[in-house]
């Protein structure tokens, strides 16, 4: 499989197939992240389209200095917040999480619902780092670059977020050996 850099080089030469390969590689991640920021499927799809339209506008002559996720993360976040503000569907991340953490139906695992409830009480910046690390699979360095903050700050936020989960009786089971 071609690396991102190889694909980008091909797209710079005007190869639509290479762009499609990149799109297939990152589509679900972009959509999932947009959905997390907007809490709405339609908005998330709009963000998905706008993100790749933005990326397309970078060619030819685009060169990637970090990882693709590091490059795309701030774009998706910015577009999502813009759409969210425009549509006024949600006013905060907490509301999105509250919806996710709504009383579990028969199919929903109660443990997950409690996890979502604990996440709602985390400060925004701690929750963001936690999700970037364990949902988006980004390394600490990638998170630091994407958020433009020192790696020490990333570690500190992540540490405090996990500490909170450890201390909450609803989620402390996750940390028992």
């Amino acid at each position: 499989m071609d690396s991102d850099q190889e694909l980008l080089e091909l797209v710079n030469q005007g190869d639509p197939d290479a762009f499609e390969a990149l799109y297939r590689r990152y589509r679900d991640w972009v959509y999932r992240l947009a959905w997390r920021f907007t809490g709405n499927q339609q908005d998330a799809l709009d963000v998905l389209q706008e993100t790749f339209t933005y990326l397309l506008g970078k060619f030819p002559g685009f060169s990637l200095t970090a990882s693709m996720t590091t490059f795309l993360y701030p774009i998706i976040k910015h577009l999502s917040l813009a759409i969210r503000n425009k549509s006024h569907r949600f006013t905060s991340d907490e509301e999105i999480l509250s919806e996710i953490a709504a009383p579990p139906s028969k199919e929903t695992c109660p443990r997950r619902s409690e996890l979502a409830a604990v996440l709602t009480v985390l400060p925004d910046e701690q929750r963001e780092v936690l999700l970037m690390r364990f949902v988006d699979d980004m390394t600490l360095q990638e998170i630091a670059k994407a958020l433009n903050i020192p790696i020490g700050t990333v570690k500190s936020r992540l540490h405090h977020a996990l500490q909170r989960l450890r201390q909450d009786r609803r989620t402390q089971d996750y940390f028992l050996e």
Binding site: Y23, L48, I100
Partner: protein, 177 residues
């Protein structure tokens, strides 16, 4: 997306159990996948833009190369014209004739001493501050020696000024005949 990275950081504090990681992943997974029409719309846009931009980029590069080549040709042509236009011989000869005219002491150099010498001659004739008449015997003698620099028929302060001026001007050409 890239392969799932291990959720184990060097820092023990920042590690989580696979169960927590899995539940976070499940919580933030959108319930719907990206519809095929969205894929198609993005790929159509990519095809259009990439092909269009690729050709525009190539044409622009082609035109730019021609522009640079044309500009270089114009500069080389102008430079070669400038080299072939050497200074006319009259300039040099007139400069020598003029320099010889004001070389009062005939030492092959025109300097401020020539102006002093002429002034002293005028003063020694006892006519300081007054012009020497061409009809006076001293004036005629001086005139014969070619000291009526401005050719007004008189050898006076004006001629001294002209010699001084020439000395200064000639200084640029090192005052050598």
């Amino acid at each position: 997306m890239t392969e799932k990275k291990g959720h184990f950081d060097e820092d023990l504090d920042l590690r989580v159990s696979p169960k927590l990681s899995e539940d976070l992943d499940t919580l933030f997974k959108p319930q719907f996948s990206v519809p095929p029409e969205v894929d198609r719309a993005i790929m159509d846009q990519a095809n259009r833009r990439l092909v269009q931009r690729h050709w525009r980029h190539r044409i622009f590069r082609h035109i730019s190369l021609w522009r640079v080549a044309a500009a270089a040709a114009v500069i080389i042509f102008a430079f070669s014209l400038n080299l072939t236009q050497k200074p006319g011989p009259t300039t040099t000869s007139s400069f020598i004739v003029e320099a010889q005219a004001v070389d009062i002491d005939r030492n092959g150099r025109v300097d401020i001493l020539d102006a002093f010498k002429l002034a002293r001659h005028i003063e020694s004739a006892g006519l300081t501050g007054k012009s020497l008449s061409p009809v006076s015997s001293t004036g005629q003698a001086l005139e014969k020696r070619g000291w009526d620099i401005n050719g007004d028929g008189l050898v006076d302060r004006n001629d001294v000024d002209l010699v001084a001026l020439s000395a200064v001007r000639l200084d640029k050409h090192k005052g050598v005949l």
